[in-house]
Symmetry: C2
Subunit: 301 residues, 2 copies
Amino acid sequence: MNKEEQEYLANYDIAKYDRPSIAVDMAIFTISDSHLDNADYRKLPDKRLKLLMIKRGQPPYKDMWALPGGFCKKGETVYEAALRELKEETATDKAYLEMCNVFSESGRDPRGWIISQAFMALINSKTVNVKAGGDAWEARWFDVELKRISKEQYVIDQSGNNTIESDSVFELKMYHNDIIIGAKIKEKRLYRDYHESVEYDVVESDGIGFDHGKIIIYILNKLRNKVETDGKIVFDLMPEYFTLTDLQKAFEIILDRKLLTANFRRKISEYVTETDRIITGGGHRPAKMFIRNIDAFYKND
Amino acid sequence: MNKEEQEYLANYDIAKYDRPSIAVDMAIFTISDSHLDNADYRKLPDKRLKLLMIKRGQPPYKDMWALPGGFCKKGETVYEAALRELKEETATDKAYLEMCNVFSESGRDPRGWIISQAFMALINSKTVNVKAGGDAWEARWFDVELKRISKEQYVIDQSGNNTIESDSVFELKMYHNDIIIGAKIKEKRLYRDYHESVEYDVVESDGIGFDHGKIIIYILNKLRNKVETDGKIVFDLMPEYFTLTDLQKAFEIILDRKLLTANFRRKISEYVTETDRIITGGGHRPAKMFIRNIDAFYKND
DNA sequence: ACAAAAGTGTTAAACTTACACCCATGC
DNA sequence: GCATGGGTGTAAGTTTAACACTTTTGT
């Protein structure tokens, strides 16, 4: 560094400018058994997509539920902050972790200018520590359900500038035992000048703090799209040993549709290796357990 | 909002905490003719992938080239800041714009704690204003070339914890007339606990300021992956009227491989509509011009 | 005439989709 | 026996990949 650069930096006062706080918000998903008891001895337990939420112990949004998260500290990267939060909440760092989007609308946090980096994390329920279920933190896994409840589509033709607008309203519902929280979120999808843009707006929020309804729906859609185009991340929701039926159910839960077993198995066959473990005692034919075939995952470029 | 919340907020002083500045860095791509003159009257001009770079007029990294960008201001979203920067540099807002990643390593900017949101923007060269080529700003379009120059792969087996590590070195070279800048970047790809992680590190930087070599390579790879799995964004690099050969070349430039014409045309046929415009005068059969078939783009869910 | 690019047709191989069928278990 | 899940085979339809071939132009 030369003298001019050094002088410039000596006179540069970063504190002169308005600066935001940076937060990380974590959408931590897992798949686990439904808490509902099983009547039929033959039936497998119902699996559900779960999202970890935290009950806020202090303002703002005290007593409401929000995504786990916290502020990014000086000296750590945003990714490290996300990993730190993940560990604090779940006691594991064996997770698929991806930065999904920034949420920075002014007014999104009453404390001031706070920009949030939203992360998606996928963990398998077997590695989750009870911490998340303990009482100190008031963290709970919620069953997640997302339904589109309306859709309108129209063409706006203003002097040759062809715009297609499609408005949907989604209903997000989340359950933990008798706790039910949710939100209605409007999705506005614009196609103008050959460019698509999507915007979400919280229309109604019931028990969910901040703009987290919006973040949840955004990440949930991202998760579905990712699984639709490349299913490999679904394995991050599985324990080391799993049956092919469990794997298929994980796909079905995220994609929200049934798959044909024979076809599914052919498709994923290269990613799994049979072991000699079997599960018996289910009132039906025992299932072989499989592990990931790591070579298949790694053979990219 | 109740009294407790109001009191809490009245006593909350955001300035007590260390806060970073938020910058947006823009990787603005377009495709345009190579500046090299064409000898053969029959040959079409060579197309290249171009990236807009700015010569820094003041420290830090004075006289080096960097991605266009700037600080996010209070009251605007990160996305709005990106759009503002895009307009400032290119005088257009008709672009594909996507937030790609956060770069937040401490020490990445000598002025202090500065976190950068990296955006990818795709514009078509016909809408670009001369501003970018003017002298005031010292902004220039650089031809981009990225080559992997080495690759090593090994398995680390530490007490059953199977880790595969794959290290590559990429050479990034960028040209504008007689200006040549570039960087060597090491890619470390880890596959551990069934989770893949990728890390980039600038090994050597020649004329490129900050950690922008890293950002460029990251976004370039993202662009390629996106085009490989869903080619629709390539249309954002095309003007309103285009020939199928131009479109095919855009794909080939980004994917860095040749495609078979007959197959390519079948694949993209639903996305284009023939017009009665033709291009003549090329010393070969005239080409029909096409426009986007907007309905095909929009028929998702 | 001929080189360059524009544009189409044909075929084999690969993959997807749908459905039918058999197997093994616990009560 | 029978409901439930575990597991496989086959055939039709669709998509991809490779290649061969024809057309049209400016010099």
